[in-house]
């Protein structure tokens, strides 16, 4: 291995591994300083976004999980504000967290950062019509979380682990007036949203739901409220569908820029 490449490998082990790897030729002061500086920068970027998780789990325990993340799957994003979500994505795949709601809470708190920084809606799409086979359009800040615990209702003042919900909770989040807004939504709506993000059409989305649940009431898909007024035409799609609740629900959601794929696991998948 060329010397520069070898040095990069050694330095990566020094700053990211749980136990600092040796870097032959680098003095002790440099080893200490670089490991501390890099880890401090990355950990701060995550910690700032998850105050409730820190309060409920404790600072040391949260730090320990962030350090595990750094060692097992170091961040790949150049955007500092995306660090919390990368941590949350790694955490969501773990089944050994100290509380089953921990990963969900970190995801929810990270989702807020993601929503607040999501691109603006610069599109000029026509309002979707349930009778036409138009392409579905979502607001760029729309994100979906699926949780077994009502972590979206936790606050700093009420930071105790919630009881597991009787059924998975589907939470749609979006940005309005620079703040986070959210609503609980129906799993079928979530699936429709997933089809939309896949570039599908409204007709294809309903046809997909039909194959799962029988004929879905198309008019019913557009009832309900909770949509942000500015982008109401887009959010009408998210209004509650009120027919069935699937027991074998799996869900994946590609983000607005189609670069990241969120996957969620619920009890129905266990």
């Amino acid at each position: 291995m060329p010397p520069l490449e070898q040095l990069e490998t050694n330095l990566r082990g020094l700053v990211f591994d749980r136990e600092p790897a040796p870097v032959p030729g680098l003095d002790e002061r440099g080893r200490r300083a670089y490991r501390r500086q890099v880890r401090r920068s990355l950990m701060s970027g995550v910690r700032l976004a998850i105050p409730i998780a820190r309060r409920v789990l404790g600072e040391d325990a949260v730090n320990d999980w962030i350090e595990r993340w750094l060692a097992e799957r170091p961040p790949t994003t150049r955007a500092y504000w995306r660090l919390p979500l990368q941590f949350a994505e790694w955490l969501s795949a773990r089944d050994d967290t100290p509380h089953p709601a921990f990963g969900e809470l970190v995801h929810w708190e990270s989702l807020e950062v993601d929503v607040l920084n999501a691109p603006d809606d610069a599109s000029e799409h026509p309002a979707p019509d349930p009778t036409e086979d138009r392409r579905l359009v979502l607001h760029p800040s729309a994100r979906l979380g699926i949780y077994n615990h009502p972590v979206h209702k936790m606050t700093l003042d009420d930071a105790i682990w919630p009881e597991r919900a009787p059924a998975p909770i589907f939470v749609l989040a979006w940005r309005k007036d620079d703040g986070l807004r959210w609503m609980e939504t129906h799993p079928q709506t979530a699936q429709l949203l997933a089809r939309a993000e896949g570039g599908g059409t409204l007709g294809a989305g309903f046809a997909f739901l039909d194959t799962l649940y029988g004929t879905v009431d198309r008019a019913g898909a557009f009832r309900g409220a909770g949509a942000p007024s500015r982008s109401r035409r887009d959010f009408r799609l998210f209004a509650a569908l009120t027919r069935f609740f699937p027991q074998d629900f799996s869900f994946s959601f590609r983000s607005h820029d189609r670069r990241r794929l969120y996957t969620f696991r619920g009890p129905c998948l266990e």
Binding site: P2, P3, L4, E5, L7, E8, T9, L11, R12, V15, F16, V23, P24, G25, L26, D27, R29, G30, R31, A33, Y34, Q37, V38, S41, L42, G45, P74, P75, T76, T77, R78, A79, Y80, W81, L83, L116, N117, A118, P119, D120, D121, P140, S141, R175, D178, D257
Partner: protein, 283 residues
């Protein structure tokens, strides 16, 4: 409606635009800053408040763009997707040049969000120079590399730090962003003469100058935190650099934390301006 871009030439004395200073800077009726510098990684692909801030900034000040994760000498392949996004963003804000740090920011795919020194070797010179040329060609605008603060000497050094920086600038055909604070920090951390260091740099290639404050962690260890006022030795070294430079590049004050009232930063800018004026009056 798209806001306009301030096309005034970047010159004089500028401030780093940071979220912690945004309200003060944009709220002030008059600005002591002639230009601002932003980190593109914090704005590419974002909407909401951040996007509106950058729109307001580009209307009011000319902008230069200073990257944090360029990894100029790293081993990762040229990231075409990111570079396209960067180019689009720089065009949108009317950035007049692009700079980043001469260091590792990514280690074998892992982003550090921190700056780690390079080994001063010919292999690193060649790798950095090639990448800088690629970036400059792709972006179609001047690219400058900044000398960084360091806390440990990487193994295998074949030249001094100053010669390493100079070699990279010469071989790449790029420009130098001379960070005076970083020179001073390293002169304490590694016990060398900061003036002799500056003397060895290709000063005719300096596109911009940075000044900032450091934190003294130990008698022999300074950290480049950008969270303190500029220290007197750095003002002195700044005066030396200004006297040596064959031209008057724009000077930027970096403050990334522990934000004081804007007036304090403006008085630091005024002091830098006074020093530069005195130096050039005496020349």
């Amino acid at each position: 409606m798209n806001p306009s871009v301030n096309t005034k030439k970047v010159e004089g004395f500028g401030l780093g635009f940071r979220f912690g200073l945004a309200d003060q800077m944009l709220g002030a009726e008059r600005s002591a800053a002639d230009f601002v510098e932003i980190a593109p990684e914090n704005y590419i692909g974002v909407g909401g408040r951040r996007a509106r801030l950058i729109d307001a900034v580009r209307e009011r000040w000319p902008i230069v763009s200073h990257g944090l994760c360029g990894d100029f000498a790293g081993g990762m392949p040229f990231d075409l997707d990111y570079m396209r996004d960067l180019r689009t963003f720089l065009k949108r804000i009317g950035a007049q040049w692009y700079s980043d740090h001469l260091c590792f920011t990514n280690l074998r795919g892992a982003e550090m969000h921190e700056l780690v020194a390079l080994p001063f070797t010919d292999e690193a010179v060649k790798r950095a120079a090639a990448r800088i040329r690629d970036v400059q060609d792709f972006l179609g605008m001047p690219v400058a590399v900044e000398n960084v603060s360091a806390y440990g000497e990487m193994p295998g050094a074949e030249m001094t730090e100053a010669d390493f920086v100079a070699e990279v600038v010469r071989e790449s055909g790029g420009h130098l962003l001379l960070d005076v604070n970083n020179v001073y920090v390293n002169s304490v951390n590694f016990k060398f003469d900061p003036r002799a260091y500056i003397d060895r740099l290709p000063l005719d290639r300096v596109l911009e100058v940075h000044v900032a404050g450091y934190f003294q962690e130990a008698p022999d260890l300074l950290l480049d935190t950008h969270a303190m006022p500029i220290s007197d030795p750095v003002y002195d070294l700044f005066a030396y650099a200004m006297a040596k430079l064959p031209h008057r590049p724009p000077v930027l004050l970096e403050r990334d934390g522990n934000f004081p009232p804007l007036a304090e930063l403006e008085s630091e800018l005024a002091r830098l301006d006074n020093i530069a004026e005195k130096v050039h009056a005496a020349a």
